[in-house]
Structure formats: structure tokens, C-alpha cells
């Protein structure tokens, strides 16, 4: 039974595996744990290349990912540890961006890695491991967001009007507006702008433009249609542009 079929647009159906995956994973771990997990391994940081929309989806994949996944599938915790180290920052950022709550983001991150290991046998390699992991993490994060804010976290199609799209702030930002800020200050500006978006727009933007999933991958992760992703992404980008305008508009000479 493939509950995490990466070709499917369906979200995980946990009810279909209570027990089996867990027992299988834990049996393997019990045999192979041997302290490997605790080994202090240093890993080069995953760096993205400079912005180039044509290469977005591949920037976070490294050549050895498939080998690591194969080893992890056979129960090699060292290989899985490498995958965790490689993606923990991105998955935590994703969970923070969706839940806007640190405790929920931590829990979602832990559960996403845990469940990815438990269900690794169902990952067939037809998609990137990272994309598959993101789908699990999104599900975990959304579940916690809905639990905390049940009345405002519907991912159903919102009422959208043409007025949503009318730009109000039209200013020149200059060539590199982000360089006017220190890194921590810039991160805070960017995070706050995302936090102000409704979850329905925030989640799509984060998957497409922060985590760099394709439109199809984003649709699959959220269980919504490709046109719905595009419509929400357009609104999210335009709203963020408006929110960032007051920080990035070029100061006119006095």
C-alpha cells in the first residue's frame, strides 16, 4: 500500500499504516543504531546558485542524494543523519514560515523527519527526496496550524476580486535594495512580511519562491490544482511587493 506515493497528489493517509511502518523502521534502527546517529559529522552547507528560474528545482539536489536515500532505506542511520543535517534548516524554516509558531515548527520538523524515515520504503525515487520530505513537512505544519487556528486556516479557494491585484505602491527600489539592510534586519523584514500573509497565500509562496518547488510539486504538496497555485502565487507575490515597498523604496534626495 503506497501511502506516500510521490506520483500522487494526495496527502498522506496515515490511517492506512498504523503500526507496520513504525515496527519495520524501529526494528532496523534497533539493530543498527550503534551510536552512528550521535556521530558528529560536519557537512558543507547546501548553497544555492545565483537566481536563475530555469534551474530552480535542481539547485537543492546534490549528486549523492540518491545513494544516501538507498543506504537509509537499508537502515543506515548514518546516511539518514546526513539527510537530516542537509535539510534540517530548510525544513525548520518551512515549518516556521507555515506555522508562525516556534514550538509547532519544532514538532513538525521532528515528526517530518521521523515519518520520512519510517516510510522511506514507500519512496520510489520517481521524485526528489527533498520534495517528498517537503510534502510530509507541509502536512505536519498545516496540521498544527489548523489545530491552533481552526477558523482561519482553510486552504479552500478564497474569495478573490480583481481589486486584490491593483498595485497601490509604485516606487523605484534601485538595483539592490536588500543591501541597505544588515542580514538579521533583512531576515526580520522578510519574515514579518510573510507572516502577514493569509496562510493560503503564505504557504504557496513559501513552497514556490522560498523552497523553490515547481508549480506542479507545490500543487501536489498542497493537494490543490496547478491553476490554484498560480492564482495564489500571483496574489502572494503582489502583496509581498506592496509590503516590502516601504522598506525598499529608494529614498528621494532631500
Amino acid at each position: 500500500m503506497l501511502c506516500y506515493d510521490e506520483e500522487s497528489a494526495l496527502l498522506p493517509n496515515w490511517s492506512c499504516y498504523q503500526g507496520f511502518g513504525v515496527i519495520q523502521a524501529e526494528t532496523i534502527c534497533a539493530n543498527l543504531l550503534g551510536g552512528v546517529w550521535c556521530a558528529a559529522i560536519t557537512h558543507p552547507t547546501v548553497r544555492m546558485s545565483s537566481p536563475d528560474p530555469k534551474h530552480l528545482p535542481s539547485t537543492i539536489v546534490r549528486e549523492d542524494e540518491g545513494a544516501l536515500v538507498s543506504l537509509a532505506k537499508r537502515g543506515d542511520l548514518g546516511a539518514f543523519d546526513e539527510l537530516v543535517n542537509r535539510y534540517e534548516r530548510r525544513i525548520f524554516r518551512l515549518a516556521m514560515n507555515i506555522t508562525q509558531n516556534r514550538e509547532d515548527a519544532e514538532d513538525a520538523t521532528q515528526d517530518a523527519f521521523m515519518k520520512s524515515f519510517q516510510h522511506l520504503a514507500e519512496f520510489q525515487g520517481g521524485s526528489r527526496f527533498y520534495t517528498w520530505l517537503v510534502r510530509i513537512a507541509v502536512n505536519e505544519a498545516l496540521m498544527r496550524l489548523r489545530r491552533r487556528r481552526p477558523n482561519v486556516t482553510s486552504l479552500d479557494e478564497p474569495v478573490q476580486t480583481e481589486e486584490d491585484l491593483i498595485p497601490r505602491e509604485i516606487e523605484d527600489w534601485g538595483p539592490t535594495p536588500e543591501q541597505r539592510y544588515q542580514v538579521t534586519e533583512l531576515n526580520s523584514i522578510l519574515s514579518n512580511a510573510i507572516a502577514d500573509l493569509e496562510p493560503i497565500f503564505r504557504t504557496v509562496f513559501v513552497l514556490r519562491d522560498v523552497e523553490q518547488l515547481s508549480t506542479e510539486e507545490t500543487a501536489g504538496a498542497l493537494g490543490i490544482s496547478v491553476p490554484a497555485v498560480k492564482s495564489r502565487l500571483l496574489r502572494a507575490r503582489l502583496r509581498l511587493r506592496e509590503k516590502l515597498n516601504r522598506f525598499f523604496e529608494q529614498r528621494k534626495p532631500a
Partner: protein
């Protein structure tokens, strides 16, 4: 193509998803509309700025809790 039409297509334009006909209409409009040029430019920068940010290292306490939890949960024997 008017300003409203351009705004509707701005995302597809920046993602390089438009057919030649719409692309040409947009480029013709951009040549004569300064406001739309600014909107396209600042929307592109919005995407690029988010795109180029790197995730911060996990705070030590978060990383420690994550790895401790995974050791505990993956290392536990069934029904133990």
C-alpha cells in the same frame, strides 16, 4: 494589453511561462508604461530577494532537541 492585463500575467511573465504572442504584448506595453515597468521590476526583486536568502543555522537548542528526539524515537524497540 492594458495595465490590468499585465498585472494578471506578471507572475507567468516572470516565470517565463508565456507564449510568444502575450510576451510581445507585454513587452510593447512595458516600453510605454513606466508604472508597469516599476511594478515588474519590484515584483522580480521581491522574488529574487526571497530566493537568495539562506536558511539560518538551526538554533543550538532546537537542533539538540531534534536530534535527541530522533535518537530516542528511532532507537526505541517496538513495544519496548
Amino acid at each position: 494589453m492594458n495595465c490590468k492585463g499585465l498585472i494578471n500575467e506578471i507572475s507567468a511573465y516572470l516565470d517565463g511561462e508565456l507564449g510568444q504572442e502575450t510576451l510581445t504584448e507585454i513587452e510593447v506595453h512595458l516600453k510605454r508604461c513606466k508604472d508597469c515597468r516599476l511594478i515588474v521590476d519590484t515584483t522580480r526583486k521581491t522574488i529574487e530577494i526571497y530566493y537568495s536568502t539562506q536558511p539560518l543555522p538551526l538554533p543550538d537548542d532546537v537542533r539538540e532537541r531534534l536530534h535527541t528526539a530522533l535518537i530516542k524515537r528511532l532507537g526505541r524497540r517496538p513495544n519496548a
